[in-house]
């Protein structure tokens, strides 16, 4: 299977968030603003998002990289790098 593109990764993140905060409309998430505040994720919710991404994408995100997931844009960038895809085409 080829590496996922930006759209697929964004969908994976929305999927992970939706499992925890079903009331959140992905269209309302501002990609350049901190994610956890926008959708009210506490550390437990956040850990569940990480676990969900692990299940979907098969990557293990270490604690030390949590800072890379601050905003939606940065999270997608980070996941692209981790999944071996290209940041081109944005």
């Amino acid at each position: 299977m080829s590496a996922p593109d930006r759209q697929q990764l964004q969908a994976a993140i929305f999927d992970a968030i939706g499992a925890i905060a079903p009331e959140v409309d992905p269209a309302d998430i501002r990609p350049d603003q901190p994610l956890r505040q926008q959708v009210d994720l506490d550390s437990f919710d956040f850990l569940n998002v990480i676990i969900r991404l692990h299940e979907i994408l098969g990557i293990d995100i270490p604690e030390s990289d949590y800072g890379e997931l601050l905003t939606l844009d940065r999270a997608v960038d980070y996941l692209l790098r981790r999944c071996g895809g290209s940041t081109a085409g944005k």
Binding site: D42, S43, L47
Partner: protein, 377 residues
């Protein structure tokens, strides 16, 4: 809580059930609750129908004693009479042994006014709650008196919280203590520990903190138990009530049973299970019924310190604030350390500030040796 609506049965007549098994789902003002059974046996008959509103303490189903003999009921001597499965009783204060006497009219009025009966106290020597007591309670707990639309569980929950917190502030003489704890060693240990673990095995900082709180409570038992009928009833077990915010508002504090005896991995699993079920609205009756103390953490929202309100009939609530970097002076040197403010609100009828201070000191001491925390079970 005085009634719930039976949502579904998880058992059918003839099923063998064991103590602790989830047998039914009941919708309450605190969300859906999985009802556990307290006896083992064979399901004889399901008495309550799904969709029915059932008062607390009502028979839900009948159970045959051992399942070996299925004697016809008409000839069953009372010695092996069917055991009744009853609707979950919400708190230790309302156990069958010391059932509160409430006049029928007062009970109905409480329902109409949205007054939580668990928060009402009789004003007279006979101890019977009457209409006047309900009216007084409704007047005191104004927010709870505004009856919301029936079936709106969020409003019901708001009412339940309003009633419980109003009672706490009315009846419990709180005292408050707080102390700053250096959690740098804890976080260092946790980071090292998590680095070794896969994402699904990772521990949250809340876990060793819970463990330390539970162990410290063992050292100061006056903070762990219930105030019932004018006396303190200590609990030998530490059932840690975890204040968990619901998405979109509301709060529940279900118990993690025997928190002092669980390993950090077991606590993490229990916390994960609990939070998942809180968010999914699936709590078990026993979890709602019996926390012996409550732990609330508001640090994630950025607050430095929590001044908790005790959940009656408990006698203490431990609050944890945000972990933040602070200048920290040790032996004449200033260093930057990760600091957590731990607070205690406790019932002065049961304990004094000195004992409360011993608890916070014990908590501090335990958190300085996180590796032993992880092992102690």
């Amino acid at each position: 809580m005085e009634a719930g609506t039976l949502v579904e049965w998880r058992i059918k007549p003839g099923d063998a059930v064991t103590r602790g098994q989830v047998v039914a789902v009941v919708e309450t003002q605190k969300g859906a609750i999985d009802v556990e059974i307290w006896d083992s046996g064979i399901v004889d008959r399901l008495v309550a129908r799904p969709g029915a509103k059932i008062p607390v303490g009502e028979v839900l189903a009948l159970l045959r004693g051992d399942g070996k003999t299925a004697a016809p009921p008409a000839t069953t001597p009372s010695a092996i009479a069917p055991t009744a499965v009853t609707a979950p009783v919400p708190s230790a204060a309302q156990s069958a042994a010391d059932r509160q006497k409430i006049s029928p009219s007062a009970r109905r009025l409480a329902q109409e006014l949205g007054v939580d009966l668990a928060t009402v106290q009789a004003q007279t020597a006979d101890g019977v709650i009457s209409r006047a007591d309900i009216e007084r309670a409704a007047a005191t707990a104004k927010p709870a008196a505004v009856a919301p639309a029936a079936g709106d569980w969020r409003a019901q929950m708001r009412k339940a919280i309003a009633a419980a917190m109003a009672r706490a502030k009315r009846e419990i003489p709180h005292y408050y203590l707080a102390t700053d704890i250096d959690v740098t060693p804890l976080l260092a240990w946790l980071a090292a520990e998590n680095a070794k673990r896969s994402v699904v095995e990772r521990l949250l900082p809340a876990v060793p903190l819970m463990k330390a709180v539970a162990l410290a409570l063992r050292e100061v038992p006056e903070l762990n138990g219930f105030w019932i009928d004018g006396a303190f009833r200590p609990s030998s077990a530490v059932h840690l009530g975890m204040a968990i915010a619901m998405r979109g508002g509301g709060l529940v504090a279900p118990a993690i049973h025997d928190a002092d005896r669980k390993t950090c991995d077991e606590l993490m699993a229990a916390l994960r299970d609990l939070i998942t079920r809180v968010r999914g609205g699936r709590l078990r009756s026993s979890e709602m019924a019996d926390p012996t103390v409550t732990l609330t953490s508001l640090g994630e929202q950025g607050v430095a310190q929590v001044f908790g309100v005790i959940y009656p009939p408990q006698v203490a609530i431990v609050g944890l604030g945000r972990i933040r970097e602070r200048p920290w002076v040790t032996a004449g040197t200033v260093a930057v350390r990760q600091v957590l403010t731990a607070s205690l609100a406790a019932d002065h009828r049961v304990s004094d500030g000195h004992r409360g201070a011993l608890f916070l000191a014990a908590l501090d001491r335990l958190l300085q040796a996180p590796e032993t925390l992880a092992e102690k079970a």
